[in-house]
């Protein structure tokens, strides 16, 4: 077995009282694409940080690299020398600098006082870009690039730094299907160049498509390492969660009366001539490639932007939304795609985050906010949505992704909406928590709420919608019923 790039044995890590990693062993072959899978909080990030030299493991661990002597810990310097690099989910790029400058940035740090040559930087950047075979212009500023392109810049940067082992943390979380395909191809070409890649992703289909082996962690302990050949998504999610997940497609409910009607709705440059009807108690799946106008349409329905044409009817009456306040007043709620920045005030308490949409309600009748009613309201929603909260006075950032998303839901449900617009509600939420969120959504629909579910995961849409509308370049291209088609054919339609 001389083909081992990295072997880690008996790795443990204790933070205060809790043992977040317990005696995990891990092996990475040269030129292999390995997936590190597990639910949030299973110890994946801790393991990556130990291997990257950020954290020191507990005594007893051993790390070896090919023929080199085993060591008991990896220092950041050591990690660099061995070519171990991490591409974090936020990419850690410099938006105001050019692509070339981002790629050679490590030089600036290593030799700060050497005079620079812009031409040399551009030339070096171009070489790496060509080696990766991607369409990047060295002179563009990173802030002008899409997330997918930025990711390529981050990959170029570690390549130039001489990466031998690359950890990619949730690289596909904010990419569209086509972009994911490109990324997966690049991953394969890197591995063909002898670079080992560790892929961390919540999207199991991708994991199975690109990786040769998958290492599963659960609650800080190693479950095992399995070849992906013959592995199914269901089996993998069982290994990750340790329980059986039953997902059943939704039976198309017989539609109630129309609640929201869009007639030839347009907004110049974003979407055109969109007509659709949302019925009571219905889950309407809205999908299409990123940039097809899904999110833009949601913003108009929530009163954030004004349409430039067409009309909107609510319960048969024309509805004009001047702002999102109007929308909330008219019983429309919107869960944004960016939970981290737009959905929650991260450093405020769980109580405040839940109550923020109904503060004026809570001030009635006397105009003062009642802390007791605020606490009661939060407690009620936390209970109804099955959120795991120890202390609702803690900052919302202390919760895991799935529980944060429940708080976002609670905050909007507190407004007692008739129409709930969910923009990618499961981004960055792990397998077990996803199922929980969809249970809530289905139950809400059964109670009579009308829901617009936006997502680019065909499986999610197919499983949870009564009706699916596919947008393409700002127009409605298809309207389908999930139980008339298969998941795979829905995927083809979206990408066609």
């Amino acid at each position: 077995m001389d083909d081992i790039a990295l072997r880690a044995e008996r790795v443990s890590k204790v933070f205060g009282q809790s043992r977040v990693l317990d005696d995990v062993s891990f092996e990475l072959r040269r030129g292999e694409v390995l997936c590190l899978a597990g639910e949030n909080g299973c110890g994946k990030s801790t393991l990556i940080k130990i291997l990257n030299g950020v954290y020191t493991p507990e005594a007893g661990a051993a790390f070896s690299f090919g023929d080199a002597e085993a060591v008991s810990r990896i220092t950041p310097r050591h990690a660099r020398a061995l070519g171990i690099h991490v591409i974090w989910q936020d990419l850690a790029l410099f938006p105001h600098l050019s692509v070339a400058e981002n790629i050679v940035f490590d030089d600036y740090v290593a030799s700060p006082f050497r005079p620079l040559s812009r031409r040399a930087a551009r030339q070096e950047a171009r070489e790496v870009i060509e080696r990766l075979g991607v369409p990047l212009d060295p002179d563009t500023r990173v802030e002008d690039l899409s997330i997918a392109r930025r990711q390529l810049v981050a990959i170029c940067r570690v390549l130039r730094a001489g990466a031998r082992i690359v950890f990619m943390d949730e690289p596909t979380a904010s990419l569209t299907r086509n972009e994911v395909q490109t990324l997966l191809e690049i991953t394969r070409s890197l591995s063909a160049q002898g670079i080992s890649i560790v892929f961390v992703s919540h999207r199991l289909s991708e994991v199975l498509a690109v990786c040769q082996r998958v290492t599963v962690l659960r609650n800080g302990a190693l479950v095992g390492t399995y070849p992906t050949e013959g592995m199914t998504q269901t089996r993998l999610s069982q290994l990750m969660t340790g329980r059986e997940l039953t997902l059943t497609p939704r039976h198309a409910a017989c539609s109630g009366e129309p609640v929201l009607e869009l007639r030839h709705l347009s907004r110049t440059g974003e979407f055109e001539d969109v007509s659709l009807t949302l019925h009571r108690g219905e889950i309407l799946g809205l999908t299409g490639l990123l940039g097809a106008g899904r999110t833009e349409l949601a913003h108009v329905l929530f009163g954030m932007n004004r349409p430039t044409g067409g009309e909107l009817l609510k319960n048969g009456k024309p509805l004009t939304l001047r702002s999102n306040r109007d929308a909330i007043r008219n019983g429309i709620a919107h869960v944004s795609e960016d939970r981290l920045h737009l959905g929650l005030v991260q450093n405020q308490s769980i109580n405040m985050n839940t109550a923020v949409t109904v503060l004026d309600e809570l001030e009635k009748p006397r105009g003062f906010l009642s802390p007791r009613r605020l606490r009661e309201l939060t407690a009620e929603w936390i209970r109804r949505l099955g959120t795991k909260v120890n202390d609702a006075e803690l900052a919302v950032s202390s919760l895991s992704g799935g529980n944060q998303q429940r708080i976002v839901l609670a905050k909007w449900l507190a407004t007692r909406p008739e129409v709930l617009i969910l923009d990618c509600p499961t981004v960055g939420v792990d397998v077990g928590a996803k199922a929980g969120i969809f249970d809530i959504i289905r139950q809400l629909a059964d109670e009579g709420m009308s829901i617009i579910l936006i997502s680019d995961e065909a499986g999610e849409i197919w499983m949870n919608s009564d009706r699916v509308v596919v947008l393409k370049a700002g127009r409605v291209s298809r309207e389908l019923t999930p139980n008339a088609i298969t998941e795979a054919s829905l995927e083809e339609i979206i990408n066609a």
């Binding site: 974090w88 850690a92 410099f94 600098l97 700060p112 990123l290 940039g291």
Partner: protein
Amino acid sequence: MPRLHLGTEGVLAAIIVALCVVLGLTTDTFLTTQNLFDLLNNQSVNMIFAVGLVVVLIAGGIDISFAVAASVVQYVVMTLLIDHMGGGNWLLGILLSMAVGGLLGLVNAFLIHRFRIVSIIVTIGTFNLYFGLLMVFTGGVSIYDIPDWLYYSIPLIDLPASRGSATLYLPVVVMAVMSLATGFILTRTGFGRAIYGFGSSPEAARRSGVRVGMIHAFAYGWLGLCAGVAGLMQAHIVQEVVPNALIGQELPILAAVVLGGATLGGGRGSVTGALLGVLLLAVVQNGLNLLGVTPYAFRMIVGFIILVAITCSNLDKLLPRRAISKEARP
């Protein structure tokens, strides 16, 4: 979508040229060597402040204590030179000003870095502290008896002009040297690019191994150093040291630097932009004077220019997001 891309500096330069043409046509005094030289002589102090301040803004910070710090430098340096060094000379004066100014800047950097305080709060604190100390220790008394080397102005370029002669004095050259040095550090060294990187994304810079303490120390220290030099030049130009001569200059200079493309968010800005920002406001003021407009109108017009400039540069964010959806379409 082919579009002429000038950048902030290009747009500013174009506006300045246009203003100059208009003023050249409407007044017969604006486009004279004498007037233009005077403009530079008068603005060199502000420009030295501006090139220092742009470094802090690029690093994502802000400093409003620099003008007061410059007054402190004037007093400390004059007192040291007159009382302890028998008057000193140019070399000693400049070095001492740089050292004292740099030190005052480092105090800001230390507080910001060590105690993680937001830069605006720290510099509001030191602004009051420095000014209070100055007034307490000087009792508000000016120094009129400055050394001879500082008293007599030093003409460097002397051209014959319609009335007498047009002269460019030493402060302009000092301004040019400070600008070139700052520009070199910011654009031609890795350290300078790391300052941009830090301003652009502090977390990414930290993870790349950038030494954040060094960035803070340099940014605020360099502004302090520039402020020291600017203070010496101001004393040289007005031939006296008055404790409240510079206070109040910080906001107009900040406005000029922001006009030159720097933002309070960091990662943006350039020396050229900062200089052009100061120049634009100076040309406007000069033009208004020559046109006989009341000086009270100047502040009003400056405010208007800043608001229009910032509004224009944000316009593209308000339009529908065409570019993004276009990129994603196959």
